[in-house]
């Protein structure tokens, strides 16, 4: 059961990520990214992180991706133009990606003592998580809330239309 779930959702994850690269319309890429994030939530659940699975669906697949699709539709982003990209990306980027993946795979396959994930063990309850979050890590948690507040204010300030913009857009 565990194996089937893992293979199914790992496959969905990879398929979604590859589809994100292949699609030329941003909205299709955004929908594939939602597939990737939702499959990752299932994988978190298989690893016993139940709170993170819920947060992944609510925060990432929900809030963040709604923001993405909203901006894509607001800006009416069309099909992207296919260009070859920069020369640096082709000559340095792709070999570097292959090398990084090869190194990571080699290191991962040689790690000794890596365990296995089963359905029974290692489930972190939300209670355990919140106990640490609200006692030992209370200050970082509150700082994060201030960070999000600043981010909201910054987003509003950035996206707000300046005074000169209205006439310039009308003139176009």
């Amino acid at each position: 059961m565990h194996l089937i779930l893992f293979l199914l959702f790992a496959g969905l994850c990879l398929a979604g990520a590859i589809n994100l690269l292949l699609q030329s319309h941003p909205i299709n890429s955004a929908l594939s990214l939602i597939v990737v994030m939702t499959s990752l939530a299932v994988l978190y659940l298989l690893l016993g992180a139940e709170f993170l699975a819920a947060a992944q669906v609510i925060v990432y697949a929900g809030a963040v991706m709604v923001l993405f699709t909203f901006v894509i539709m607001l800006l009416n982003a069309g099909r992207e133009e296919r260009t070859l990209g920069s020369r640096a990306a082709r000559t340095v980027g792709f070999p570097a990606v292959v090398v990084i993946l090869a190194i990571l795979a080699t290191v991962i396959l040689h790690i000794q003592g890596l365990g296995a994930a089963t359905m029974q063990d290692g489930i972190t309850s939300t209670e355990d998580l919140s106990t640490i979050l609200f006692t030992k890590l209370l200050l970082p948690f509150e700082v994060t809330s201030v960070l999000i507040l600043i981010a909201i204010l910054g987003a509003v300030a950035l996206a707000r239309r300046g005074d000169g913009d209205t006439e310039r857009l009308a003139g176009k």
């Binding site: 565990h2 194996l3 990879l14 990520a17 590859i18 994100l20 690269l21 941003p26 955004a30 990214l33 990737v36 990752l40 994988l43 978190y44 298989l46 690893l47 992180a49 993170l52 947060a55 992944q56 990432y60 809030a63 963040v64 923001l67 993405f68 901006v71 800006l75 982003a77 992207e80 133009e81 296919r82 260009t83 990209g85 990306a89 792709f94 990606v97 990571l104 795979a105 991962i108 790690i111 890596l114 365990g115 296995a116 994930a117 089963t118 359905m119 972190t124 998580l129 640490i132 979050l133 890590l137 970082p140 994060t144 960070l147 999000i148 981010a151 910054g154 987003a155 950035l158 239309r161």
Partner: protein, 111 residues
């Protein structure tokens, strides 16, 4: 290295598979960052990389039965949400100024 499926059903999925999946997702994110020409899709590739790293954190949290890894993922998620809000606001501002989303045309700061 690859146990038979029956063994897997009894002993669970090796955590190395999760790590390999995470490495593959991260590499796909880097490739997307390099080949995509739309600034929103480039931004989505960055989100994909963040998610891949989160999977690694959760895997190691499971390996050591530690909650700290999951706490880290929680903070990464919160910062990523803030980052997405600010980043998309910047994209809206860029679109308003340049009327394009193609990264090839947004090259004012390029040498």
């Amino acid at each position: 290295m690859n146990p038979a499926p029956l063994q897997l059903a009894a002993h669970g999925i090796p955590l190395a598979w999760y790590l390999l999946l995470s490495a593959a997702l991260f590499s796909l994110g880097v490739i997307g960052f390099l080949i995509k020409r739309n600034v929103i899709t480039v931004f989505m590739s960055i989100e994909l990389m963040l998610n891949a790293v989160n999977l690694t954190f959760v895997t190691f949290a499971h390996q050591w039965h530690a909650v700290k890894g999951q706490i880290f993922v929680f903070f990464v998620m919160m910062v990523a949400a803030a980052e997405a809000a600010v980043g998309l606001a910047i994209i809206i501002a860029i679109f308003r100024a340049r009327a394009t989303l193609a990264v090839d045309r947004i090259d004012l700061m390029k040498l």
